[in-house]
Symmetry: C2
Amino acid sequence: MDKPAPASHDVHPLVSKRWSPLAFDPARPVDDATMASLLEAARWAPSSYNGQPWVYIVGRKQEAASHARVLGCLVEANRRWAKDAPALMIGVARQSFAHNGKPNRHAAHDVGAASAWLTVQAESMGLRVHQMAGIDAEACREKLAIPEGYEALTGIAVGYAGTMGQLPEDLRQRERGERMRKPQSEFVYDGVFGGAAGWVKKG
Amino acid sequence: MDKPAPASHDVHPLVSKRWSPLAFDPARPVDDATMASLLEAARWAPSSYNGQPWVYIVGRKQEAASHARVLGCLVEANRRWAKDAPALMIGVARQSFAHNGKPNRHAAHDVGAASAWLTVQAESMGLRVHQMAGIDAEACREKLAIPEGYEALTGIAVGYAGTMGQLPEDLRQRERGERMRKPQSEFVYDGVFGGAAGWVKKG
């Protein structure tokens, strides 16, 4: 299933085609070379002082115990569909800079960027990515042995498209739901917070 | 000038070509349609509960007072080169969800993602983006009238490539510097923090 963004302005196909589905093909694994490419795209993301504060803890179906453990770190509502995703990850932020030990106030921001670049690569190779805020922080800390100074931020499901038929009815409805965003004029300002200007788009 | 990432594994050209330069062409503005496309790519980024916590305060050279005001929110070390970038932005995170007022712990993460998608679009249109942690938070708050509940996170310079000749000598050296990243094995773990596995790449 495809669900292109109803974009108001021209965007690259990788932008408009990107979508976070619930249905992943459980029978099609993500192979080693593909994983290497996805993680390589994350690797080359820009970051504050090139601190690269991202860590990915991965569970693929090929490594069944790892997949089960990462799956167990998601909240139940996400486990229902993410169980089928052949690669699951927890995105983790290192809270301080390695070079001087000082707090990195851009750690979460830069993990978000790295995961976005991972998604760009995935979309370019025909895979889909669905990120989740809904993870169990305590389970992450314990089951994944995340040490002090690191914080689990997101769950990330990666794989190839599945079908509607594999989803329970309530998730099918969610999968069909309309894609919505605020208009640009609600988040783009000229020169000052709230600043309006002719060039800022209403849509 | 191009400076492709010396990637160890296959990545999409938008990933490998992306680079954060210091030299932007001061004479080539970013027009309205291009701005709309860049911001549209940010608009369609995924976010926790679709909260879309990003705000961009923009100063283009076409709006000289706005450009000067946003430039004045960067630290001096960044103003030296960012003055030439025809579009400057401050990326701002809304700290709470609009739908229920609760704290959004993924706000910074999701701004990072939106700015990454903006960068994808920019690269696809032949522009470059250079994000900066080095902003003056107090100046942002005052000059840009950023209200309580919002936090300025990054400066973002956008424009077309400039030339080495426009940079002072110390910045030319920086511009020529080698691009470096940690190997995947230092940020990719299998199943548990620190977990090694055969599929995780050493490079």
